[in-house]
Every structure is written in structure tokens, then in C-alpha cells.
């Protein structure tokens, strides 16, 4: 086959043509890349310019919509949306009211509502994300309607996220919990974020107590996953839900065999400065609960020194190590106990104690 080419009187013509074609292709590729770079840079500059214009109009004008060119292209909608979402996230008062007004004045909400019905799922998801970032109460009914007809799980999760930022009352939390339980459990972070948003939205309207009522309702509800209950507790900590302290203790007492819930409760309470369940957690049969409690033992429980010292012989390596670190942080008595253990006959305890002492010295 190769011979046909090499022995052909046109061989060198073929080679020349191939080299020329390659050259042309390379030049075209470089030109395309340069054109694309210029296009992206120009689009980014335009987007930044529009964002700046929108922010300036919000600061200076009483009617910003009158100053701003009406968006027509997707990138123009995106630029205005970014600027408005940033203002709504960061500021409240007059400027936030003007920013919210701008959404409808410029037809931004209508545009993204149309996109939320697009046939391509990621465009729908993107539109839902942008509508969520506005936190407009008027979007609540729209989100609920879209949720009912939406087929993509990915978009449904996003709708729930958007709705969680608009929670106002007890019924909203129950509705969101029902929606969540109708979908496969996604991740702890996602569920925690949903409840965090709910608490934050309720706090903004002074209805934080509603979340406490909800948590009490689901405590013994078997249809709600324990993982979801755990995420509620974690969100309670993340959103600084100080009023839920008593409820967290009830959760600790109600789920003695659910390490995930116990750990979340121990951590949430300890971070609120409440160590009332920590001693019990240090004695818990599950090593993960003991481990979580030992992280705070030096802050509350040095009167349990013999028990913490005994945990240097715990079957779990992680518990042994954290017991030693708790003793190292627990003052002179803890350090004295560690020094004794470091020189003792138990090789496991001695090495862990020596490690903790070296860490404390460092």
C-alpha cells in the first residue's frame, strides 16, 4: 500500500499537499483560539461593565430601571442578576429594596421563569439557581408549580434549595421536609444547607421558634430518616440556633442507639458552650460517640480524669489518641497522668501518651 505512494511520480506532490494542509489547519486553529480568547475577554468585560452599571444605578438613582438598558442577551441577564444577587446577599434597607424592584422592572424574573421551563435540564437548573439567589417571596408559588412538573432530580434538588430560602412559617418547613423525603437522600451537606436556610429565613422574620416546633414533631416520626434528623441538629448549630439547646438535649436522650444523632448533638451543644451531655458521651459504648465527646473533654470534664485515663486502653486507636490529647490539654494533672503512662508497662498507652506529650510541648 505504501509502495503505491512512494513509487508514484506524484509522491512529493502528496507530501507537499499534506504539509500544506497541516500548516493551514494549525494556522486556522491558532486564529480560532485567538478569536475565542478575544470573544471571551470582550464578553467578560461587557459583563463586568453591566454589573458596574447596575450597582452604580442602584446607588445613585431613585429609579434605577430608567437608567439601565433593558437586557436582551443571556449574558446581559446574567450580569444584572449577579449584581442584584450580590446586593441582596450583602445589604438590606433601601438599596436592597431597589435591587429587588429592579428584578421585575427589567423583566429578569420573567426571563428566568421562562428558562426554568426549558427543555434542557441544566438550563432549567441554572435558571432555578438564579431565581433562588434573589430570595423573592413571589417565586414561592412558581417554585412549587415547577417542582410538581419537573422530571430531573438534579433540578428538583435545586428547587427545594430555592424554597428553603423562602420559608416563612411552620407549613413551609413541613412541605419542604415532605419534598425532601420524596427524593433520595443526597448528601449531609445538602440537607444541612436546606435546614440552615430555613432557620436563617425564619430568624429574619422572628419566627425561629417554628423550627423548634418542627424538630420536636419529627423527633419520633419514623417516616423521617435519622440522617435528616442529624442534619437538622447540625444546621441548628451552623445557624446559631441558641434557643434549640434544650431540644438538642432531648434528642441526645431520645436516641441512645443512634451514634450519628448523638455525635451531632454532642458537637452542637459543645459549640454552644453546653457540655451537659459530654460526660455521658465519654462513657458511651460506641467509639465514635466517645471520640466526639473527647474532643471537648479538656473544656469540661477533667474531674473525670481516671475515666479519660482509662480510655488510653480503649479498643479504638482514635479514642486512645484523643483521650491522650484531652489529658495533654487538661492542665497539670492531665500532664502528670500522661507522664506516668508514658513510662508505664502498657506499650499502647505509653506510645500514645508520649505522642500527646510531644504535641503539647510543640
Amino acid at each position: 500500500m505504501l509502495d503505491i505512494f512512494t513509487q508514484s511520480p506524484h509522491f512529493y506532490d502528496y507530501v507537499t499537499a499534506a504539509v500544506l494542509l497541516l500548516g493551514v489547519f494549525n494556522v486556522a486553529e491558532v486564529l480560532f483560539l485567538l478569536w475565542n480568547k478575544a470573544r471571551v475577554e470582550s464578553s467578560e468585560l461587557k459583563r463586568q461593565g453591566l454589573k458596574r452599571l447596575a450597582s452604580t444605578a442602584l446607588i445613585t438613582a431613585t429609579d434605577p430601571a430608567a437608567l439601565l438598558p433593558r437586557p436582551a442577551k443571556e449574558e446581559e441577564f446574567a450580569a444584572y442578576s449577579e449584581a442584584i444577587a450580590s446586593v441582596l446577599d450583602s445589604f438590606e434597607g433601601e438599596i436592597a429594596v431597589k435591587a429587588a424592584q429592579l428584578i421585575s422592572d427589567l423583566g429578569i424574573d420573567d426571563h428566568y421563569r421562562r428558562l426554568a421551563r426549558h427543555r434542557v435540564w441544566y438550563k432549567r437548573g441554572n435558571a432555578i439557581d438564579i431565581l433562588s439567589s434573589f430570595k423573592l417571596k413571589s417565586n414561592r408559588e412558581f417554585f412549587l408549580a415547577v417542582f410538581r412538573s419537573e422530571t430531573s432530580l438534579d433540578v428538583r434538588y435545586r428547587i427545594i434549595y430555592g424554597l428553603s430560602r423562602l420559608a416563612r412559617e411552620h407549613a413551609d418547613i413541613r412541605a419542604l421536609a415532605r419534598m425532601l423525603s420524596g427524593l433520595p437522600y443526597l448528601t449531609a451537606k445538602y440537607t444541612e444547607d436546606i435546614f440552615y436556610n430555613i432557620i436563617t429565613a425564619l430568624k429574619a422574620t422572628g419566627s425561629e421558634a417554628e423550627f423548634g416546633i418542627f424538630m420536636r414533631e419529627i423527633m419520633n416520626d419514623k417516616t423521617v430518616l435519622n440522617l435528616v434528623k442529624r442534619d437538622c441538629i447540625t444546621a441548628c448549630y451552623a445557624a446559631a440556633c441558641e434557643k434549640g439547646r434544650g431540644l438538642l438535649k432531648e434528642y441526645y436522650a431520645a436516641f441512645p442507639d443512634e451514634p450519628e444523632i448523638l455525635i451531632a448533638a454532642v458537637k452542637a451543644l459543645a459549640r454552644m458552650g453546653d457540655f451537659s451531655v459530654t460526660p455521658a458521651a465519654i462513657r458511651h459504648p460506641d467509639w465514635r460517640v466517645r471520640l466526639a465527646a473527647l474532643k471537648y473533654a479538656h473544656l469540661c470534664c477533667m474531674d473525670m480524669l481516671p475515666e479519660i485515663r482509662a480510655l488510653l486502653r480503649d479498643p479504638s486507636y482514635h479514642v486512645r489518641l484523643n483521650a491522650a490529647l484531652a489529658l495533654a490539654k487538661g492542665g497539670e494533672k492531665g500532664l502528670a497522668a500522661l507522664r506516668q503512662e508514658a513510662a508505664g508497662p502498657d506499650a499502647f498507652a505509653a506510645s500514645t501518651a508520649a505522642y500527646a506529650l510531644s504535641q503539647e510541648a510543640a
Binding site: K51, A83, S86, V87, D89, S90, F91, I95, Y237
Partner: protein, 123 residues
């Protein structure tokens, strides 16, 4: 009036804070990330620094730590302005020696008043 340095990666925040604070007669310098902010803090020697936490390249906590470690900048009062509301973050901020921890969304008029009251109290 006072010299104020704003360190935030969001241009919208810069525009709004600059507009309100300049109107109140303050001189504004701006940085869009931590390393640039550290350089400008040393060169500009502001009377107050408005600092975000979530930023590229260096977090606001790291910026505050470095500012407080540097003898040339350790006296600069820091107002952290962030959407992080968790108690642990607030404690961490105050632990680094910041003066105020302001959570977003903030009322920009109130922010201006807080800054002015703080600056007056230091005179």
C-alpha cells in the same frame, strides 16, 4: 476624615461601600484579595479596614492574622464583614483581635454610622 481600606473580592461591595463612605468624606483604598490587601494596608496605613472572609488566594482570617502579626499593621482596626454567621467564626474573628464582626446582609447606612462612631471613639 478617615482613610479606609476595603478588602473584598466582590466589586459590587466595593462600589456600594465606596460610594457611601466617600460621600461621608472618607478616603477609600481598595484591594480585591488578601495578598494585595496586605501590601496596601502597609503602604496606605488606613484608619480602618473593612475585610471580607471568603476570598480567593487568602481568607479574611489569614489576612487578619498576618496584619496583627506585622508591627507595621497590627494597630489597624479591622471590621470583618461577612455572610458567615456561625458562632465559631465570630469567636475566631474576635480571637484574632478584630474590632467588629458584621454579618451580611448589613444596612449600609448603619455600617457607615458604626464606622464613624468607632473612629470618633478612637480620637
Amino acid at each position: 476624615m478617615a482613610k479606609i481600606l476595603i478588602i473584598d473580592d466582590d466589586e459590587t461591595i466595593h462600589l456600594i461601600c465606596r460610594a457611601y463612605l466617600t460621600k461621608a468624606g472618607h478616603t477609600i483604598e481598595e484591594a480585591y484579595d488578601g495578598p494585595d490587601g496586605l501590601l496596601k494596608a502597609e503602604a496606605f496605613q488606613p484608619d480602618l479596614l473593612l475585610l471580607d472572609i471568603n476570598m480567593p488566594r487568602m481568607s479574611g482570617f489569614d489576612v487578619a492574622k498576618k496584619l496583627k502579626e506585622n508591627p507595621a499593621t497590627k494597630g489597624i482596626p479591622i471590621f470583618m464583614m461577612t455572610s458567615l454567621k456561625q458562632e465559631s467564626n465570630i469567636q475566631r474573628g474576635y480571637g484574632l483581635g478584630i474590632e467588629e464582626y458584621i454579618t451580611k446582609p448589613a444596612n449600609v447606612e448603619h455600617l457607615k454610622l458604626r464606622i464613624e462612631k468607632f473612629l470618633q471613639s478612637r480620637k
